[in-house]
């Protein structure tokens, strides 16, 4: 279902779209990639939308990396496409992915997913996840340019599947060393990253998920990091929070282009 002939990148940019073409494109090719976490999928209206940049923010240990790992596992397990996972804190753990898949195997059983033996399934899932460690902003630029290049050349990754989900956990740790201070280069790099991500999402029908951390906003409140310029960048922003000592996390929507929330 995901490997339709989608309009190639050359067709998309520079072309003038009519309203009907846009509607057709949205209903036919902009699918939602489920994260596997019911509450979050409901808040997101189905999942991570292709062509959009979704941001998950929250204080430390509120579950952001878990959301990323869940989405990566689920998308890979359902053979929706290849997942590219850019990790800045060495948190990507294949054994955690295995636990997640084993945990949701009953869901797969209901949907008629082919029940291969556990290690075969795990191997095929791991093959669909490309995990790379990036530790500074320049490495990120390089990875994104390479990705753009390989997508433009229509090279198929991993035997026939195209990449459909790009996860960056966490983009704020890469941007933190350069923003702030008197020199504006940091903020301009942040905006360039934002533009490249949105371009990738739009031209190649990717869903992009990034995580951000929080900083204090005075009087004990917290606000997402990266400042005012970043606020306008993601299409959907979610805030996670976890109560002290419990395993329950709550998610709140800060911004969503498609939904209206009563104030």
């Amino acid at each position: 279902m995901m490997n339709h002939d989608q309009p190639s990148a050359k067709d998309r940019c520079g072309k003038i779209w009519s309203g009907m073409q846009l509607l057709k494109d949205t209903t036919e090719s902009k699918h939602f990639l489920p994260t596997g976490l019911e509450g979050i999928d409901t808040l997101l209206g189905g999942g991570l939308r292709q062509g959009q940049l979704t941001e998950v923010t929250g204080p430390s240990s509120s579950g952001k990396t878990q959301v990323c790992l869940h989405s990566a596992s689920l998308v890979a397990a359902k053979h929706m496409g290849v997942v590219m996972y850019l990790d800045t804190s060495n948190s990507f753990s294949p054994s955690r992915v295995a636990t997640i898949i084993d945990g949701s195997s009953d869901v797969f059983g209901q949907r008629g997913f082919d029940l291969q033996p556990k290690d075969m399934r795990l191997k095929s899932v791991m093959r669909s996840i490309i995990c790379e460690s990036v530790f500074d902003i320049f490495a990120l630029f390089e990875v994104l340019h390479q990705l753009e290049g390989s997508l433009l050349n229509d090279k198929v990754n991993n035997g026939g599947s195209k990449i459909c989900l790009l996860i960056i956990d966490s983009i704020s740790s890469l941007l933190a060393p350069i923003i702030g201070g008197k020199y504006p280069q940091g903020r301009s790099m942040m905006i360039s990253v934002a533009m490249i991500l949105k371009k990738l999402a739009d031209e190649h029908n990717l869903s992009v998920l990034v995580t951000n951390h929080t900083v204090s906003a005075g009087n004990g409140a917290v606000k997402p990091a990266l400042g005012e310029s970043w606020r306008a960048v993601p299409h959907v922003r979610l805030v996670l929070s976890r109560e002290c000592g419990s395993n329950i996390c709550t998610a709140t929507v800060l911004k969503h282009t498609l939904k209206v929330f009563p104030l």
Binding site: S61, S89, S93, G220
Partner: protein, 270 residues
């Protein structure tokens, strides 16, 4: 990648309960932050890890060396010697048929050898700290058998002297990314010891780890050490693959061990 992770060895902390909540011990290729009030045992745990990483492969350890970056001057050599002796006596107790192991490995089990394999750096200001971490990469390229880098404590020089908070955040996040990179590239564990501070939240003062909110995102795992009455407890606060849990431990004459027998315990000094 999965097979690589499964074959990853962990560095035992000396206490079985602590190892359990950590998933076997301190993980290599990850940055672990350990924080707590003064006197709860952070430096003891740091020294214990520097010794435990050297347990030879034949006895279930990693057989690697340690780098200890000391910012406060709390590295007491006599205590390290004591802990090394305690570790060796535990190994010999655990592996009674020592004639099966190679005699070379046995000869290596001397406290002097353990001390010799700890590379110690003393830094006295934050610029020295930054320089030491920048130098680490070159150092590790030359000494490939280092398996753990301990920084005790990462907070000390950044708490005073800094007027510009934004600069402090930038410097610290750059530092943490470098440490992440080193952990991954050289396949070693990085352990950062942190102090506590008070934070005004929800109308009251609470103790939280120092260096602010942005720093709390810069580690892969976080362990908080605290007192519960007269007992020491460790609480796993952040981990990508393990649930939160707490476990008791004790600091004895031999080092960090399970809290079980209440004799030998060094009690809380108030």
């Amino acid at each position: 990648m999965l097979s690589e992770e499964q074959s990853q060895k962990h560095i035992t902390t000396g206490s079985g309960d602590l190892n359990n909540i950590l998933g076997g011990g301190i993980h290599c290729k990850e940055v672990t932050e350990i924080g707590g009030v003064p006197g709860v045992g952070k430096t003891q745990l740091g020294i214990q890890l520097a010794i435990n990483v050297q347990i030879p492969v034949e006895y279930g350890g990693l057989g690697g060396k340690a780098v200890y970056i000391d910012t406060e001057g709390s590295f007491m050599v006599e205590r390290v010697y004591q802990i090394a002796e305690g570790c060796i006596s535990d190994i010999l107790e655990h592996f009674p048929h020592s004639h099966e192991k190679s005699s070379f490995a046995q000869k290596q089990l001397q406290p002097e050898h353990f001390l010799a394999d700890i590379y110690y750096f003393r830094v006295c200001s934050y610029t020295e700290q930054i320089a030491a971490i920048n130098y680490l990469e070159k150092f590790l390229g030359e000494h490939k058998d280092v398996r753990i880098v301990i920084i005790d404590s990462v907070t000390f020089h950044f708490r005073q002297d800094f007027d510009d908070m934004a600069l402090r955040t930038r410097v610290l996040s750059g530092l943490s990314l470098k440490l992440m990179k080193i952990a991954k590239a050289y396949n070693l564990a990085v352990v950062l010891l942190n102090q506590v501070t008070t934070k005004f939240t929800e109308g009251s003062f609470q103790l939280t780890l120092a260096l602010g909110d942005s720093w709390s995102h810069s580690c892969t795992n976080r362990l908080i050490l605290y007192w519960n009455g007269n007992d020491r407890y460790a609480y796993l606060d952040k981990s990508p693959s393990l649930p939160v849990a707490s476990a008791p431990y004790a600091v004895t004459g031999k080092g960090v061990r399970d809290a079980g027998n209440s004799n030998h315990k060094r009690v809380r000094v108030t």
